[in-house]
Subunit: 100 residues, 2 copies
């Protein structure tokens, strides 16, 4: 089965980027125990003062989809939503390389 | 020192994506021994038939820059160049998360 990857760009409401990053970093800490979540890295961009990019790799698209219905995920999303102005995702399929 | 990350989108010339992916996967295999290169994952996109996305994380921007002047890197680039129609990069600064 193919792995599933994505670059997810969150645009925070003005002044809320750090608070949103903190919630995403908590979600990343919780992901340490989820075997199907292989990579979940929180990044900022110097060029885009309100942007947070999350690099995700999952064992499969199904595992990623299933994670969205977990109570912990829903709780994180509900806390993050008021801080978010927009979300865009670039889905990718990892072929291989260093760090997988 | 801050880590350096990037999502680098290579657009292959028509019909050349697999050949370009093979060169990038070879570069990723060579990166296994480069401690400053933490992540170098080769991805394709179902939505963009000529696109290859490379997810990179380096120990610092300086380490990434230094890698570009290595003979092995230059050799890979010279083999890849004839296959490439365009390159765009989204530089990011990793804050933390799973997989770093």
């Amino acid at each position: 089965m193919s792995k599933y990857g994505a670059y997810v760009k969150f645009t925070a409401k003005s002044g809320e980027r750090q608070a949103l990053a903190d919630i995403l970093l908590e979600a990343a800490a919780a992901a340490q125990t989820i075997a199907d979540c292989e990579i979940y890295i929180i990044n900022v961009s110097d060029d885009e003062p309100d942007a947070i990019w999350v690099t995700e790799v999952w064992s499969s698209a199904e595992a990623h989809q299933a994670s969205l219905s977990q109570p912990e995920t829903k709780e994180s999303i509900s806390r993050a939503m008021p801080l978010i102005a927009g979300v865009e995702s670039i889905p990718v399929m990892p072929l291989g390389g260093k760090g997988l």
